[in-house]
Symmetry: C2
Subunit: 189 residues, 2 copies
Amino acid sequence: MAERKTYHHGALRQALIDGAKEILAESGHEQFSLNEVARRAGVSTAAPYRHFTNRDDLLSAVAEEGYQTLAVDLEKATGLVGLGGAYVRFAHEHPGLFVTMFRSRPGGEASAAGEAAFGTLLRAVLAAQESGAIPAYASPELTARSIWATLHGLAVLHLQRPHERYGLGGEPEELATTTLSALLGVKPE
Amino acid sequence: MAERKTYHHGALRQALIDGAKEILAESGHEQFSLNEVARRAGVSTAAPYRHFTNRDDLLSAVAEEGYQTLAVDLEKATGLVGLGGAYVRFAHEHPGLFVTMFRSRPGGEASAAGEAAFGTLLRAVLAAQESGAIPAYASPELTARSIWATLHGLAVLHLQRPHERYGLGGEPEELATTTLSALLGVKPE
DNA sequence: GCTGCTATGTTAGTGCCGTTCACATAACTA
DNA sequence: TAGTTATGTGAACGGCACTAACATAGCAGC
């Protein structure tokens, strides 16, 4: 993708975001290089700075799109367990993107899509509590936050080797189901 | 620490590990630089390669010491909730080190200290299940793994801003207590 | 105590990185 | 059609991880 006819690219901003996702998918967050993104888009290494203030700014835009994709994935899932499976599966299928989304940034901004994703989880928790599928030790909000933490930890640990040692492995959905039922006694409907 | 009388440092390996921890504490994982570590130890930038094969190898040694510290911290805690609080507090007090320990490495090795830490958690879960403090939906092993995931997710999310949005904040111990009781109905003894 | 081996340090260099600056080109607007 | 603004380039900077050739010193066995 290094050839270009016109002097101006036309849609460089999106091309950079897409290229960044590509690199994250291929090589992971730690290997990400802004120069490499520019190379793939067929522009000079200085060009990205016309669209992003720096490397981190591009990664934030990539992360935002990640949150949107995640929100859509969660929306498609049904039930609390299905939603948990979708979360872990997202991390499993887009590990580089997932790490980029949740990398430790000192003063990370809130993401609208991230909020939407949480809202989806909240509704699932509410429904599960009302139907008695899970115990209601605490408010839906607090329970949803706690479950989010569980799913997130599960996803993060799943992206590394360690978890296998305790006999897990398996598909993301199985992981989520097993874990949620161990904590909440919930069963997939 | 840039002065030295003898040509040979004497204890460079440990000095590098300590310096690396210092940098992680000051600037975080993403800012870590091998050259900076060498500078602090008062040696040339090539010297570290006499003790570690590369930057990643040094970070792994640092991580191993981190696992040992974590294992000790968990050992000191009493009760399941106290242990959870200790886990989140460790991440809270050593964020750079924590990120380094759990960074996504393709083929991460198992850590003996990490296994020990899990063993401590497992015993706490066993005791809590036997005393009826938490429900026994699943085996102690599976439950312990699930709680580990929860604590880990909590710690990771706590290191970023996002969690505050849902009204958390507060001290690590409070976070762990609130979360575990929301999921398991467990109360601090 | 000298001699050689090996461990541990240095200096200088490579290539990649993120970032900036001065300048070129093209698209839009008056 | 002319001027302004948006978007690209090329060349440079310092910092990074890492390597190779060489220097020093600690430690054997003689």
